[in-house]
């Protein structure tokens, strides 16, 4: 799935490349907690670079809150780069395990729906099937909704992971990036439309 993130949306998808050192996760989550930013999901894993991990998190808040959070994050010594996925095209995925209750009557129907979603069966029980579904958030949510009527016993979601599209592995950090941002856009120009240039206001950083 692809997407261009809507900056007005309440959830913001952000990735951070961080040094793989003790306490990095604590340092980052404590920063979020202390400053009152809400993390809706968080995934961490190693990268192609030894010593670097990648985190993807979904932060809830308005654009200004998210930008402030990103700038606070980038100040941390452990944080090498911040990528705001709302500014690039990106691919994202989430993996979920869903354990669905089945009866002899529902068994076939459940399997059929799962097939439509390309969900894999990873465990077969007498009274339950466990599915693995990979996809973007919408697909996973739709799958869970479909299964709800049969009885969901439990679910486990990994949280979203994301990469920018294309071959630009080395895009610059988005905190001091060249593009337009909300809080750093000069308000003067917004107030005086005659000065606004076509194609947006330059970021002054």
């Amino acid at each position: 799935m692809t997407g261009n993130f809507d900056p007005g949306q309440k959830d913001h998808l952000v990735s951070a490349l961080v040094r793989d050192e003790p306490r990095v996760l604590t340092r980052i989550t404590s920063l979020f907690g202390r400053r009152g930013y809400n993390i809706r999901s968080l995934s961490v894993g190693s990268t192609e670079h030894p010593g670097l991990s990648r985190m993807t998190f979904v932060v809830t808040g308005d654009r200004g809150v998210v930008e402030q959070a990103m700038r606070q994050l980038e100040k941390l010594h452990d944080v090498v780069k911040i990528i705001d996925h709302s500014l690039e095209k990106f691919v994202d995925r989430e993996l979920v395990l869903v354990k669905v209750a089945i009866t002899p009557e529902s068994r076939v129907e459940v399997r059929q729906i799962a097939e439509d979603f390309r969900a894999r069966i990873v465990d077969v029980g007498r009274h339950a099937l466990t599915f693995e579904v990979t996809g973007d958030e919408g697909k996973i949510t739709a799958f869970i909704e479909q299964m709800r009527s049969f009885g969901i016993i439990e679910t486990m979601r990994t949280g979203r992971v994301a990469l920018t599209r294309g071959s630009n592995a080395d895009i610059p950090s988005h905190v001091y990036h060249e593009g337009e941002t909300e809080t750093l856009r000069p308000v003067v120009e917004a107030a005086e439309p005659r000065e606004t240039k076509a194609g947006g206001v330059p970021n002054l950083f």
Partner: protein, 572 residues
């Protein structure tokens, strides 16, 4: 000594020495003993034994604030390390470069709740710029060098390095890491400067406001202000970044700011903020702050821009370069109406004319020489000193701005005095705050520090709390009376071998100040003042700057509260 004889502890001292660290403030204990043992091999580093780790780190802060160089402190594990916490939080909020080194229990004991074990890196995570546990002795010099670089670079701050005891003892085989070059501070973007310049050119009521981040750009900012002929406000942390003697200076903004500064902010159409973070004590109610102004914010730290106030022109980068760029091609603005208004506001400054804390503080700060370092503790005397003292250059005013740490002033003055033995290091403290770190009188005596001059403004109360209780809690003076249990400060000083003087009234004051300042040793002056004095102007908490109370409300029966409160305290 050959390289093979080095241990972790010796490698630590060798690295500090290679970085030009000459003085370390600290306190030994079990888990840092190998480091103290190794110290005996490095006579080029002076260790200053404080009487409490909090005293050690505040002294290191005083050193750093006076010189702009890194302050270093040392403590053992557990309680030693946790005693640094207040100082670390203080240094974090005031952007002071500090290297704190703590010992910890040996690696195999870590995580077992061993004797004097505390997870100090966990504890200090949110109040340090960065922190480390050294788990490999071969990493130690590299970590120390990196910690120093982080503490000093960009927006400075405290960095803690925790070293387990077995690492201190382990043999070290590597080289000693040389100092990192200071990373270059990014220059502001020319487009941003251009935008700012356009705003200034069209301004009818411009004002420049500078904070603690502009201390090293004082000369450039002064030139900038004079080139445009724009009035300058210096925050509590920025005092000295612009000469007080310049007619363009409007004083300090905020809760206890001057009438001129706060009115100018409230009416300004362009506010150029340099190296400040719009603290709530500066802004008052944020949506009432500079309501008519387009705000240009110059700051090194991108996270500060737009954090509190809306910013019209963000300028990220070096304050010095930004000020230079903004001054280029400047022409004096012709703004007679604005000048007239400001001149009128400036006449509304009231000098304390009757006996009280303000009178006493004024008498002391009037004796300051341009080179003198003035430290303060936290409270009424701090605000009075900030209002009344005049600074011609930066790094002569040392106080705890962000954290408001009582007990800060006296040890900070010792640190500053040791950093600059040739100048007087004067501290103004209250009777409350002084007692939080009074044991550092021993440090004064031990090192025969001769240039530290302690002034205690004794009003027998936690004065600032009392003022708030008076204004906002209907004079219920809950637990703020100290007069019934304060020590005899002269005897206290005498017990530590520090000469002391006292003044009880305006008549005695000049002579007492003379005797105190002329004493060749470090000395203490207690000034006993009536306790009902408040600090004004004042912007009540949560109000906007335009709602400032300019002068002290009239008191129907001066002195009555003192007696009642004192009686109540005695009868309780």
């Amino acid at each position: 000594m050959t390289q093979t004889e080095l241990t972790g502890a010796k490698a630590l001292w060798a690295t500090l020495s290679a970085h030009g660290i000459t003085t370390v403030f600290g306190y030994p204990g079990g888990a840092i003993m190998p480091v103290y043992d190794a110290l005996t091999f490095y006579p080029e580093v002076r260790h200053v034994l404080a009487r409490h780790e909090q005293g050690a780190i505040h002294a290191a802060e005083g050193w750093a604030k006076a010189t702009g160089e890194i302050g270093v402190c040392l403590a053992t594990s557990g309680p030693g390390a946790t005693n640094l916490v207040t100082g670390l939080a203080d240094a974090m909020l005031d952007s002071v470069p500090i290297l704190a080194i703590t010992g910890n229990v040996a690696r195999h004991l870590m995580g077992t709740d061993a004797f004097q074990e505390a997870d100090i890196t966990g504890i200090t995570l949110p109040i340090t710029k960065h922190n480390y546990v050294v788990r490999d002795v071969e990493e130690l010099p590299r970590v120390i060098a990196e910690a120093i670089r982080i503490a000093r670079s960009g927006r400075p701050g405290p960095v803690l390095v925790d070293i387990p005891k077995d690492i201190q003892l382990a043999p070290y085989h590597g080289e000693i890491t040389a100092p990192h070059a200071r990373p270059e501070i990014p220059a502001p973007k020319p487009e941003a400067i251009e935008k700012a310049r356009e705003l200034l050119q069209d301004a009818k009521k411009p004002v420049i406001m500078v904070g603690g981040g502009s201390l090293d750009a004082a000369a450039e900012i002064t030139a900038l202000a004079r080139a445009w002929d724009i009035p300058v406000i210096t925050t509590l942390m920025g005092l000295g970044s612009f000469p007080s003697s310049d007619p363009l200076w409007l004083g300090m903004p905020g809760m206890h700011g001057s009438v001129a500064a706060n009115r100018a902010i409230s009416e300004a159409d362009v506010l150029l903020g340099i190296g400040l973070r719009f603290d709530d004590r500066v802004t008052g109610r944020v949506n009432g702050f500079a309501p008519n102004a387009s705000i240009i914010h110059v700051d090194l730290d991108a996270a500060e821009i737009g954090k509190i106030v809306r910013t019209h022109v963000p300028v990220r980068g070096d304050a010095r370069v930004a000020a230079q760029m903004l001054a280029e091609g400047a022409q004096k603005l012709d703004l007679p109406e604005w000048r007239e208004k400001i001149a009128e506001w400036k006449t509304r400054t009231q000098e304390p004319d009757h006996w009280g804390a303000g009178y006493a503080v004024k008498a002391v700060v009037d004796r300051l020489r341009p080179d003198d370092i003035l430290s303060s503790d936290v409270g009424q005397h701090q605000m009075l000193a900030a209002q009344l003292a005049r600074f011609e250059r930066p790094r002569r005013w040392i106080n705890s701005g962000g954290l408001g740490t009582m007990g800060f002033g006296f040890p900070a003055a010792i640190g500053a005095g040791m950093a600059e033995p040739g100048v007087r290091s004067i501290v103004i403290a209250g009777d409350g705050g002084f007692q939080m770190t009074a044991q550092e009188l021993a440090t004064l005596k031990k090192y025969d520090v001769r240039n530290v001059k302690i002034c205690i403004i004794n009003n027998s109360f936690l004065g600032m709390v009392r003022q708030w209780q008076e204004l906002f809690h209907e004079k219920r003076y809950s637990e703020v009376y100290l007069g019934d249990s304060n020590p005899d400060f002269l005897k206290l000083a005498d017990a530590y071998g520090v000469p002391a003087y006292r003044a009880d009234c305006a008549e005695e004051l000049p002579e007492a100040i003379d005797a105190w300042l002329n004493d060749p040793k470090s000395s203490l002056l207690e000034i006993v003042v009536p306790n009902e004095h408040g600090v004004f102007p004042m912007v009540p908490s949560g109000a906007s700057l335009s709602e400032m109370i300019e002068t002290e409300p009239p008191r129907p029966t001066p002195g009555i509260e003192k007696n009642t409160a004192a009686e109540e305290a005695k009868n309780a």
